[in-house]
Symmetry: D2
Subunit: 387 residues, 4 copies
């Protein structure tokens, strides 16, 4: 693994915990972790259970005892690391968004195709059992033709103007703000559940344009520097966009870090011809489901606690009604990755999904600048010509 902050912890825990809950033929061994700061990476290796560490990520790729490279570093490093790893024949798991630009994402996809290695993107929320169950219902046609998707990812952790200028607020490191950080998740959920997006039109906004430029920390929190030096926030605090899906559905999306009271409100509602579903990450074990063909007078959203043995992944955990949490989305994702490595295929979401997601992100940025609708397929074609 390369990186050891918030996502490093989440991934490391999942590797460690996976064999306990899942019976897998191919199991992870935490061989090594890489980070630039030797002291910190040593502590992290010890704490999180890695057998060794490196201070240069390139060393990790050179090592023969390592099959899978897991990239949990800031976004501006993903492309170089992933391509290097793939060229060395390593399997790659990469955090989202996979790149700073669509062109880089397409380059990563090309490298992945050439390598024959397994590749996957860490869109963990797909793997919440309630989301997988929603997908199953949609695939079975229980909602019929889809009319509407409305998805929001609402957070509030940077609302305080004294929150410092961490790397997640710098465009050169992260590419975009709320858009790529949390908007990428709801785009992935919408693509997973409803299908490809045909075109988008969006707005980006930075509400607080300057912040104390203290030393960078893990990206989610930091103490303010003593000296009140201010730096420019170069990414969006909020992104909103409309979309048309290829199957005709309408989408409204909003990703913001300025929705006070919403600590981690990743929520969606999907309305179809025959039914509707609702989900909210803050209550991630539940799925609300409405069926239009329920008996008259008895129609209403059902609150389903998606913890039954028959629900996706739940037979690995606890009896019905004993909820799981955030970290289990990674376990579920990793169980698919292990199966992919064992059998030689790249489970979704893979780099193809990563590139498609990046195309939507870039289209939104372009539409926000041009104030025009942007066609996703056309954007990808134009970009791939530059490969």
């Amino acid at each position: 693994m390369i990186g050891y902050q918030f996502m490093g912890k989440a991934h490391s825990h999942a590797y460690r915990d996976l064999p306990f809950f899942f019976d897998l033929n191919y199991q992870p061994v935490q061989q090594a972790i890489a980070g630039r700061n030797e002291q910190a990476v040593k502590v992290a290796a010890d704490k999180m259970g890695y057998a060794s560490y490196e201070t240069d990520w390139r060393k990790l790729i050179e090592r023969d005892d390592i099959d899978l490279i897991d990239i949990v570093t800031p976004n501006n490093t993903h492309t170089e690391m992933a391509i290097a790893a793939l060229e060395a024949g390593k399997h790659v798991l990469c955090e989202k968004p996979i790149a700073l630009s669509l062109l880089d994402a397409e380059r990563m996809l090309e490298a992945a195709k050439k390598s024959g290695a397994v590749h996957m993107v860490s869109h963990n929320y797909r793997f919440a059992p309630a989301v997988q169950f929603a997908k199953k219902l949609i695939n079975e046609g229980r909602l019929g033709k889809i009319y509407h998707v409305r998805a929001q990812y609402l957070q509030d952790f940077v609302m305080d103007p004294s929150f410092p200028l961490v790397w997640r607020l710098k465009k050169e490191v992260t590419g975009s703000g709320a858009l790529g950080d949390i908007g990428a998740h709801i785009i992935d959920l919408a693509r997973f559940l409803v299908g490809e997006i045909r075109e988008v039109n969006g707005m980006l906004e930075t509400f607080i344009k300057e912040r104390p430029s203290g030393e960078m920390s893990g990206g989610l929190s930091s103490t303010t520097s003593e000296a009140e030096q201010m730096g420019e926030v170069t990414v969006d605090d909020a992104a909103i966009f409309m979309s048309r899906f290829e199957n005709g559905a309408l989408g409204t999306f909003e990703a913001t870090r300025f929705a006070g009271g919403n600590r981690n409100g990743n929520r969606f509602e999907i309305n179809g011809e025959k039914g509707s579903i609702r989900w909210d990450l803050e209550n991630m074990n539940n799925l609300e489901v409405f069926f239009a063909d329920d008996e008259e007078g008895l129609q209403g959203f059902r609150t389903i606690n998606v913890t039954e043995e028959s629900h996706p992944y739940m037979s690995n955990y606890w009896p019905a009604g004993h909820i799981i949490g955030y970290e289990h989305t990674f376990l579920n994702l990793f169980s698919e990755l292990m199966k992919g490595i064992e059998k030689g295929y790249s489970p979704e979401p893979n780099f193809e999904d990563g590139a498609k997601n990046q195309a939507v992100l870039e289209a939104i940025q372009l539409s926000a600048e041009s104030r025009q609708w942007v066609d996703i397929k056309h954007l990808r074609e134009e970009t791939r010509k530059k490969l």
Copy 2:
């Protein structure tokens, strides 16, 4: 109508509003209202739409132009008024609880039987469409055999120790406190939905034993008297009790005015062999329903907005999704009363229900004193011997 405070307002509004929403053959005419304070009753008559007023309720009973006597006075006056009205051949609607004691309630029931007039008790919450719909589901066997009833009526309006000693806190006027005032409602709902209670065992508690003894007001609010004279609270602030129903179901009940944050939390859950239902007055248009025979994996409580045209009483009001409120429970009740008067029968809950309800109230008081289980049927039999 006799009385013109909170309940007087609620009843008067219902009479006035009834013809607008319901097509009835027999319609109410607000002939007269009675109250002891001439100035106040005059204002009330004018405001609430009565053609005349009396300062002696006996005059009302003597008048030939009055068919129905509606008793909304404090509890200690119900028995005398109701018996007098029934003996004069008037129909009677009486607020709950109908009496201070079971013996009085049985006397009222006897008078009602002798008179041949229509009699009814104003247990308005039965007439919330969601409750009527719950009854329909239970009657149709959709819940199967009933195992559990848990019902709570939680309020908090007297928690402040400076809240004065209004009539609702004096035993000689009101009979009991939370027990008779709000406990009577959940007993009625349980009897209506699940059937008769066989035996009970309960506790009563008065948390604040002395209060400022200002002038009495409407029972729900009052300003404190200037002089800080204190008087004894002679009724319960809270009542809790267990019960066994005649059909074998277990019941847990709680009525309290000391549940902070619960303004008017009248709520129940009923669990049966095949399903469960939940209701809460604070969200009275919804009913939550669970069916054990819903498809595996898709089981969960449905939140049904009981506002469809097919739901009880709702075709009289607005299109689906346009909610009704507290006052409409009285309109629905009164529509039944009018039908009863037209056709010559006493709709439930009538004085038979009033007496049964009073028997449960008295049994709880007895059990709280004796710390023993009390059998309801036996208590009624013993009491009726004294008639």
Copy 3:
């Protein structure tokens, strides 16, 4: 009053019920109702309490005993009726949207200004106590600078393809579909709470393009004609749009009749610098409020039952915790209208608001056609040149 369908019933009830709950110096008298079908309007007059009826609305305007004309007819008749009434010196209450086009709305506004009469638009949801309370909090600065508005009006009553082609689905009668019918409400709420909208960009969609063209009914329901003749649906089933407010806030809006399971889901969330609020019409007595300056660790949305005596309008109704319903929004609105007539001013929302609302509606339609952002102020200026 002109018209006697769903809105006719709602308005008539409010006139009738108003004096019971409100102490007003100026009180409504239901003098006359107009409708083209004599038999039907006669029944309506009788049922809803009007002293007389007319089969030609012009007669109503000619009558000296009528001060206020209330227009609850289909949208294509509003402009002519309102202007005629205003020119005759009558006060006018008009249902929303006030016109089929912005030009017509501006003409109505001009007529209103010239007449000196009182004018008001029936945006009743503003008058839900929880919404008024939200406004009070915002006005007091409790939310600080506003960052986000997300508002949805979700219904599902036309999802069945066999639902007939009622007037609400015909452009020549109604102007637009979900947009003008329910979108107009959330635009009004957003303008009321957050301020003017600077520019919009939206999409309109008609999911079911042909329907059985039976006889028209009340607009909300109808039985299908026997002969399966089909007619074209000429309005939108759904409208989604993004907006920028003049104060810088971002807005996402969605109005649809194709959100299965949402009978009447008019809901919004507003996020500000210091707090957030949420409201949902289906649970209209509650307001959820978050304050960023609540003690650390104890922050969370409060569910406030807006039924206290201190809450807007609630002292007119029942004690705390006794909820009101849909119809009371009209009572509250009408109490303001009566005060306006008494004192000679036009309470908001008046025809100025009506025109501003219509400008947003028209801008969305234009943006949906042109796929461009449309500036509201510019649109009004250009339109007013044509007056």
Copy 4:
């Protein structure tokens, strides 16, 4: 560890996962697991990470390399195992309820006191962060004097009459049914949050008195035996009881396996002089809190997502809004146990709490038989005389 079923899995996972999240001076090493079935225990040892296994639990106690004995076997074995372990100087963690009878529980407590070893009972729900936070609020006096506790543990997993006669339904193995299995949890929560219970009065009921007597399985599920041999259910399906706390608060409790639709509904509400709190295990990361001294008009239950860094235990896990699940209650409990072992004290809930809990359970059973109130202190005194 002795035992390897549902609780065995939960405990083993917690040992394994603990060092990842907590920085402890004393850390668990999974030395050995014991079970009677060699094949099964071997698989379990391997799967759950134990270095060795034994088929006789006594061997475990004899081993020098083992400091802590964790008893997760059926209830009828706890007493013998715990006393043997304590006598051998081992620390003991025991599943709840700790014994079949109060006398056995008192014997275990005596053994614990004599041994000087660390002892603890596995009441894991105390360690949900929201519950710990509730305790903190109560300790700080934020709720004032406590008036009411209402607690329910509602499940539905045995409602199907074909669910077999597993050990959890046999009195000789388990002591009681819903009472000891889930009632013990809500008693522990009530004691933890509100204090000791003075007296109780309860009812027990077995709704389904015979079941297919297949081979015993893990206690929570089983396949039915082919031959339809029926056996008697000798424990309660449901337990309800009233209580008085020593501080004067009233309690209503209900533990049942017959509340359809409630998979794991462990919920309570506590009302005090200054505020109220609500919690539900199915949504275990949230705590609802009401403060009576919140500003007038702005009072309401706050839904607090207890996932902030400042909330109990949460700094060990993820950023705010990233929820934890059922299994983390064990990690939190074990972190306390490790600290106790390191520093030589027995963290609560220890065997003193275990005995007190058992006293309440036994008092309820006695009251259900005698139909009388039972005094807890008196019961313990009488029982301890038999030691």
